[in-house]
Symmetry: C2
DNA sequence: GTGAAAGCGCTAACAG
DNA sequence: CTGTTAGCGCTTTCAC
C-alpha cells in the first residue's frame, strides 16, 4: 500500500546552492519579514533553478500542525452530498487546506475506520455528516484528541456540544405541508426515510405540526418509511395506491425519493401534479429539469458545506467559544409537480 | 491555515509503558512476524491503554513513502465525475490509500496549482482528468518527479507515454448514430461540447464515420458546439429550430446536454422521442429516471475510476512496464427518447 | 539578520 | 528476537 521512494531537492540543498543556512532558507520560504530582499531573491532563485518543492508533510510534522482537513459523507454520487462536498472544497481551498475525502456508505463501522484514519493523518479538523443512527461515542473520540469537528446535515441525538450546520427541517417540511393544505389537500402522505435519521424525525415533526395546526387528524398509516433511493420511491407508490383511503398528495423525504415516486406514478398511469401532488426535499439540481419539474424544499447543500468549512476554520485557528449552530432557513420552491386538489 | 498543535501519545511512550524499545514497538505495530506473541500482546495492551494513534505522517516521512493519492477532476457535482470519484475511492480504499481530492473547475491554472499541491503533499500517485485543452507540460512535470500518474477520461494531445483509462468514444458515438440512421434519420445533429476536448473530437469522429459509411452527406451546420451544461442544452434547441433544414435527431455530447435539449424541446412544444430523437452520452444514473427516459451511450464512469485506481496502484508498487491504455467498450442503452422517423 | 543545533514521531540499519 | 543509533525534511529556539 505504500508508494515508492522519491528523491527530492531538500531545503538543505537549496541553502547550500544559495550560500545560506537551512534556517534562512526556511524563513525565506515562508516570507519572513526580516529577510532582506537581496537574500530572499538569491534563495528564491536557487529554489527555482533546483526545482525545489516544499514538503508539507515534513513541515507539518515538525510544526505539529496540519493543513489538511477530513470530510466524511455517506455517498459521493448522491447529488446532495456532492454539492455539499463542492461547497466545502471551494471554501477550504481558499483558506489553503486540502481535503481528505471519505465515504461511509452509511456504515457505522466504515465511519469509525475513516474517523480513525483521519486521526492517523493528523488532520487539522473534520467535517462529518454522521451515518444514520450513529451514536456520539464514535465522534467523541475525536474530540477527546482535541481535533476540531463540525457536524453537518444530520445530528445524532444529544450532541449539543459540537458545532453543527444544518437546515431547519421542521420549518421546511411544515411549509411544504402547509402549501399542500392551502391547495385543498387533506390526505397527505410522508414518504421514504426512517426514524434513525435525525432529519427524518424533524421532517416528520414539521409534517405533523402543519396537519395539527390545520385541524387535520393525523393518520399514521400515511407515514410510509422506506429506503432513500429512487427505487424506494418507485416501490412506495404501490403502497400508496393500495391504501384503503389513498392520499392525494405527498411530501417525500428527499428529492431522490420524490423522483422515484413520480416515476412510479407515471408507471401506474398517473400524472404527477394533476393526479397526485408530490413535493421533495433538498432541491438538488436535477429537480429543476425533471419533467414534471419537482416542487421541493431547498436545503442549500452547497451553502451548508460553505458554512461548515468556515466554522471548522474558525475552530482550527483557535476560537475556544462555545459550539455554534448554524441553521439555514429552507425555502419552498414551487414547480409543476403540485396542483390544487380538484373538488 | 494551519491547525493547532495536538499532543499525542508517541510510540516511545508506548514502548516505555510496555517495557520494550521503540523499535520493538514499531515492529509490533506493523505485525512483524518475528515478534513473539507474548511481547506483541504486551505492546498492544499498552497501546490500547494509552490510547495510541499511529502517526502516518511521521511514518511516511521517515520511510519516504506515501499512502495518499491525489485525484483531480473538473467538477464534483457533475454526476459523471462523482461516479468516477466513487469508483476510485472504493478501489483505492481497499488498498489502504486515502484520497486527496481536488477540483479544477476546468481552469488550467487551478489544475497546475492542484498538481503542485499534490506534489507538496508527497502523494504516492495521481489520477487526473485533465482540463480541456491542457497541454502535457503541466503533467510532464509530475512525471519528472517520478510520481506515477494515470490520466482518466480525457486525453491531451500527444500523450502516449502515460497510463490512460478511457472509453472508446469513436465507437460509442458511431453506434449511436448508426442506430439513428437505422431508424430512418438522415439529418442528425451533434450538439454541445467543443474541439478542445479530446472526447469531443473522438465523438465527432464516430459521428462522421457513421454518416459517411451510410452514404449520408456531411452537413457541418448540424455540428453545433456549446457549453456542456443543461443550460447549454436548452439554448441549443433554438439553434436547431431556426435551422433552414432542421435535423430530426441529435447525438448530444453528454447526458447533461441531452437533458437540457429535451427540456428545450418540451419548452418549444415538442415531444422528445416522437418529435425529435435525442441520444446522450455517459449514462449517468439520472438518464434512466428522467421522462422520457434518455437513450444514451454508457461510458461507465465508476468502472473507469476503478480501473484508473488499479492501474495507479500497480504503477506505485513498481511495475515499470510500458504505459498501459485501458479503453472500455461503450454500450448503447436504448430508451424512450428515440423513435423511428415517421415518413 | 543569520547560523548551529535540537527534535517532531517514526523507521531502518546494525549490533548484540 | 530486541535495543541502539541515526536520520526523513523541516521548523524552532537561541546564540552570534
Amino acid at each position: 500500500m505504500n508508494g515508492k521512494k522519491t528523491s527530492r531537492v531538500t531545503l538543505q540543498q537549496v541553502a547550500d546552492h544559495a550560500g545560506v543556512s537551512k534556517s534562512t532558507a526556511s524563513l525565506t520560504l515562508r516570507g519572513h519579514p526580516r529577510i532582506p530582499a537581496k537574500t530572499r531573491e538569491k534563495v528564491l532563485a536557487s529554489m527555482k533553478s533546483l526545482g525545489y518543492v516544499y514538503d508539507r508533510v515534513a513541515a507539518n510534522l515538525r510544526s505539529q500542525s496540519s493543513s489538511t482537513i477530513g470530510l466524511i459523507i455517506s455517498e459521493i454520487s448522491n447529488p446532495f452530498f456532492s454539492e455539499l462536498v463542492e461547497g466545502v472544497q471551494q471554501t477550504l481551498d481558499k483558506q489553503g487546506y486540502t481535503v481528505l475525502l471519505g465515504a461511509t456508505g452509511d456504515s457505522p463501522t466504515k465511519q469509525e475506520t475513516l474517523l480513525f484514519m483521519m486521526l492517523e493523518y493528523r488532520v487539522g479538523g473534520v467535517i462529518v455528516s454522521p451515518v444514520s443512527g450513529s451514536s456520539h461515542e464514535n465522534l467523541d473520540q475525536l474530540k477527546q484528541w482535541g481535533i476540531p469537528m463540525v457536524i453537518a446535515t444530520r445530528e445524532p441525538l444529544q450532541m449539543t456540544n459540537y458545532d453543527f450546520v444544518g437546515v431547519d427541517n421542521i420549518a421546511g417540511s411544515k411549509m411544504a405541508v402547509e402549501y399542500l393544505i392551502a391547495n385543498g389537500h387533506r390526505r397527505i402522505a410522508l414518504l421514504g426515510g426512517s426514524p434513525q435519521i435525525s432529519t427524518w424525525r424533524d421532517r416528520k415533526q414539521g409534517y405533523l405540526d402543519a396537519l395539527t395546526q390545520a385541524g387535520i387528524e393525523i393518520d399514521e398509516s400515511l407515514v410510509m418509511e422506506g429506503p432513500i433511493t429512487r427505487k424506494g420511491g418507485i416501490e412506495i407508490v404501490e403502497r400508496i395506491l393500495r391504501h384503503p383511503i389513498p392520499p392525494t398528495a405527498a411530501l417525500c423525504f428527499n428529492d431522490v425519493v420524490a423522483l422515484g415516486v413520480m416515476k412510479g406514478l407515471k408507471a401506474a398511469g398517473m400524472q404527477p401534479g394533476p393526479d397526485f401532488s408530490v413535493i421533495g426535499f433538498d432541491n438538488i439540481s436535477e429537480s429543476a429539469v425533471h419533467s414534471p419539474e419537482l416542487t421541493t424544499v431547498s436545503t442549500f447543500p452547497d451553502k451548508m458545506g460553505k458554512h461548515a468549512a468556515e466554522l471548522l476554520h474558525q475552530r482550527i485557528v483557535g476560537m475556544v467559544e462555545p459550539p455554534k449552530r448554524i441553521i439555514l432557513k429552507p425555502e419552498l420552491v414551487v414547480r409543476e409537480s403540485c396542483s390544487s386538489l380538484r373538488l
